[in-house]
Symmetry: C2
């Protein structure tokens, strides 16, 4: 008799494991069960469907060769049975059956399995505030919601939107509303920054500044306390600080695993509700596997488990399940946390953990921030790409990398390269010597990522003394906090003049090229914060000043290339 494999869940991990095992065991009887009528769609494409970049929702369900991944496609092309509109109600592990219900007719039956895969995904969190059920309040949980949102917008029913949640999905939806549809859009994020936990504050702030430039209102450290309506339809969102009119509200405040079936079947589930699996993605019942948003995944840097709700991981995990169903002992050890997103004309990406997370996790962590060019400085399309490396000072292990740049693949290239090193437990030196491909249209001779490794080496080796971006910003807002600090601005006098004029004796200007002649003018009784555009010249000057007995300086990493992307209020008028 053919082996019966049943897979609950028809998006990403489910279809991937189904198709993989069917290729490995062509004689197996493979069935996907999903309660939805639409299956196997690219959920990550929803913002691009709403924006209009993708014109038809079918494109999200198509293969690269333009066939729609529906029930008959799976049957004919893959030899996989799909029972859509079919809800799994319960698992009988002893009998090895799944009780299911047709969501249209209500008819029930039982489906036997030899091996079962839970790819039940996640559901969006709903804030415990009034008004979440009003018409016009959406989560981005499935394609039906996306279609409903786009129809409303396309019918001209929406003028103002509020996006609750400043994570990737919230920001992508805000871009879709603003950029293509010209809607007045506000993002509310209850944490003090966008993309909390994914990147550190300065990188989130660079992104926020760009969003604001593009017309999106962003309020951080501000939560929605109520959503109010009129005749059952949303009209405004209330926060402790303001009331925002809204015809449409998107709530994108994270997701949690769908694991009721697993829990009710007595499978091990974490306190947060994630299905526990071993590194072959077996649950506590060896005949039941799980993959995708619903499982607990170990972070390879912190060693801690949690939800890892990314389509890219769901696909990798699905393949691992397919292998194991067929007896190939492939393992999945965990995730690094690689991430990229586009927002208008910028990209932001990260891998590993942020400095904030690293410190919270007890690492002896530090970070360097650089602002080198993505291409040869003489190549016409070159631009600065701020990068951050997070590392452990004692072991020199690299813990994370972050990047911000134009909406092309420049930042992606550096983050993908770093991801491999980080996953392997690599050090600062591995980053310094990583052999990035070079030609002037693509990189600098010493790539921006290598340069970040070199700066990290200088910091970790005690050759570079740093002031953090946060400390510098705090001082700029309140000189009295550190009355003994003074800026030493080594940029060209034309660049420094407005700062000297505005900040008076807090701002010394001695050009880089003149320091060796003029260092005796500098104060010995102050801490000098050395400022240039990228941080590299500042380091040279610090080393020189140390050698002539002025060991009282700190370098601002990334320099004013970072500052001018932060939208600071103290920037002098041009």
């Amino acid at each position: 008799m053919a082996k019966k494999i049943v897979i609950i869940g028809g998006v990403a991990a489910g279809p991937k494991s189904a198709c993989r095992v069917k290729r490995l065991l062509p004689d197996a009887e493979v069935t996907i069960i999903d309660q939805d009528s639409l299956i196997s769609y690219g959920g990550c494409g929803i913002p691009y469907y709403v924006s209009g970049d993708v014109s038809d929702e079918k494109e999200l369900r198509n293969t690269s060769f333009h066939m729609t991944r529906d029930e008959s496609f799976f049957q004919n092309a893959k030899g996989v049975n799909v029972r859509s509109n079919t809800r799994a109600l319960a698992i009988d592990r002893k009998a090895k059956t799944v009780e299911v219900e047709d969501v249209r007719s209500g008819a029930k039956d039982t489906v036997p399995y030899d091996q079962l895969v839970l790819a039940t995904g996640s559901r969006p969190n709903i804030l415990p505030i009034p008004g979440v059920d009003l018409d016009g309040v959406f989560t981005i949980s499935d394609l039906h919601k996306a279609i409903a949102i786009k129809e409303r917008v396309a019918r001209g029913e929406v003028g103002k939107t509020v996006v609750i949640g400043g994570g990737a999905i919230g920001i992508e939806m805000a871009e879709a509303f603003t950029d293509l549809w010209g809607l007045e859009t506000t993002i509310l994020e209850f944490m003090p920054q966008l993309l909390p936990r994914l990147v550190d504050r300065p990188f989130a702030k660079m992104l926020e500044t760009h969003l604001v430039e593009k017309g999106v209102a962003v309020y951080t450290s501000e939560s929605a306390t109520a959503i109010e309506g009129d005749n059952g339809k949303v009209v405004r969102v209330v926060t402790p600080k303001r009331t925002l009119e809204a015809d449409l509200v998107v709530m994108a405040v994270g997701v949690r695993a769908r694991s009721e079936l697993a829990r009710e079947a007595g499978l091990a589930v974490s306190q947060m509700g994630n299905i526990m699996v071993n590194d072959r993605l077996q649950t506590s019942d060896p005949n039941i596997y799980a993959a995708g948003d619903c499982i607990e995944v170990k972070n390879l840097i912190t060693g801690k488990g949690g939800i890892a709700p990314l389509g890219s991981l769901a696909n990798r995990e699905g393949r691992v399940v397919g292998d194991n169903l067929a007896g190939i002992p492939t393992t999945y050890k965990g995730w690094v946390g690689s991430f990229v997103m586009k927002a208008f004309e910028r990209s932001i990406a990260a891998t590993g953990i942020s400095l904030e997370t690293a410190l919270a996790e007890g690492f002896d962590a530090a970070a360097v921030t650089t602002a080198q060019s993505d291409r040869a400085h003489f190549f016409p399309t070159q631009t600065v790409i701020p990068l951050r490396l997070v590392f452990d000072k004692s072991s020199r292990r690299v813990l994370g990398a972050q990047g911000f740049g134009p909406a092309n693949d420049a930042v992606l290239a550096r983050i993908d390269a770093a991801a491999g090193i980080i996953a392997k437990g690599g050090t600062i030196d591995d980053i310094s010597q990583l052999e990035m491909a070079y030609a002037p249209p693509f990189a600098t001779a010493l790539d921006a990522l290598n340069a970040a490794g070199n700066v990290a080496d200088n910091l970790a080796s005690g050759r570079l003394r740093y002031i953090s971006i946060e400390d510098f910003l705090a001082w700029m807002d309140n000189f009295a906090g550190h009355p003994d600090w003074v800026a030493l601005d080594i940029r060209h006098p034309k660049e420094t003049a407005p700062f000297v004029e505005k900040f008076g004796d807090r701002w010394l200007s001695v050009p880089y090229i003149d320091i060796r002649d003029r260092y005796r003018e500098l104060p010995k009784d102050k801490t000098m914060l050395i400022i240039c555009d990228a941080g590299t010249r500042s380091y040279e000057i610090q080393v020189f000043l140390d050698s002539v007995g002025f060991a009282n300086s700190l370098v601002l990493g990334g320099g004013f290339n970072i500052m001018r992307r932060l939208g600071v209020s103290w920037w002098p008028e041009a």
Copy 2:
């Protein structure tokens, strides 16, 4: 007394080691000696200067903050002495001095050193053919040559150019001549492909096809046998097959180390003339270091030494020398061979070694070729990026990666990510599970590089049977070579019809979606070459056919996405 460090060579490795050691040992007396008047320029930018992308040669000598890296810059900003126009004649290792000559006045003196660095670079090879000294025949050896070429072109003196050598520099120069100046340009390459040794034939052929589309004439397997002139000025280039008119000839046929100084000083030099160094980049005299094009560098995959003439490596090596001069025991273990170039609207990149090299080196090597999208298939700017992974079948170690795509950073991102894995001796599985950052504007959920890893896994595990691109092309040119072969084209009938019409009973058409119903029509007495667009559907069909007793198929990796980029003569008319 201050330690005296003397560096011979003022481009890339020389200035890098000088500035690094000066930062580490601010009290050291650091002197760069160079016979040229122009130093510290970005030599890799020469084609972009000639093309006009870079308007002034000074930009190639500028820092990112727009200062020219001349003698006074090094003195004032870096505290490094530069003696330009000064030729090093000999090294007296006992006395620890360098004898130098002012190239303008002829005056000689000796420069004492405590430690010496040889960064003497390379010189271009000159073919042993008549006419290489004619006016108008150039090598791309320094900035003066670049200026002279650009002046000639800008004055309108050049209508036709011949580039001898189909390596990266030759191709970049051909683009510069054709694209901006509209010159009639021919590339001659004596090997059977462009970019010999850097990429395998199919990838070189995709590039060649694009160059031809852009109006460059390319003749491979064809060498220049003579350059002929008129009144001392070049007028034509002769090959065994044709005579090419030319007002300007660029000879870009590789470089060799400049190591006379080292050899005459009794330092160990390889048979090929490369200066031998240990992994701290010390020569056979511990007081003398060497870096850049002039040294022997170990290839980390083959373990063999050779010249590695890349500006990116010169900079890395320069930093290692700077560290060691200052007593920091940084090492440089060797190179992987990462490489990228732009040619018109395409990029081509590679890391590690090619299949051809791997086989020649005795590896149990194989390669897979894929043709996946760079972005989500529904994202408007997506395009196919052919990738190749070269690996060892028994150890599963990845030996190399190649990519071809648009002139953005999409290919770069995959090659840089692979470079780190390859340098660390990683396997196919490391590539499969490499956590590439994902969002639809940047990648597919399972990245193209991961997909290549998966295909390699299938091949290495014996689950996939492949026909090589070369074997397929040979068969298309001569069906009689394998009378028992037949194409099984599973693309849409609209796509396959012209092929069926042209190739008759050599070309079977059964759509992918119909195979499960119609497989009984297929022949059991032929070898079926399964063809789709990317190779993935073909693999599915092979697995299915095997399971129903038709184990007589081979998959064409990368499918017609590769074929249509190869400019084949047998493509049916549209």
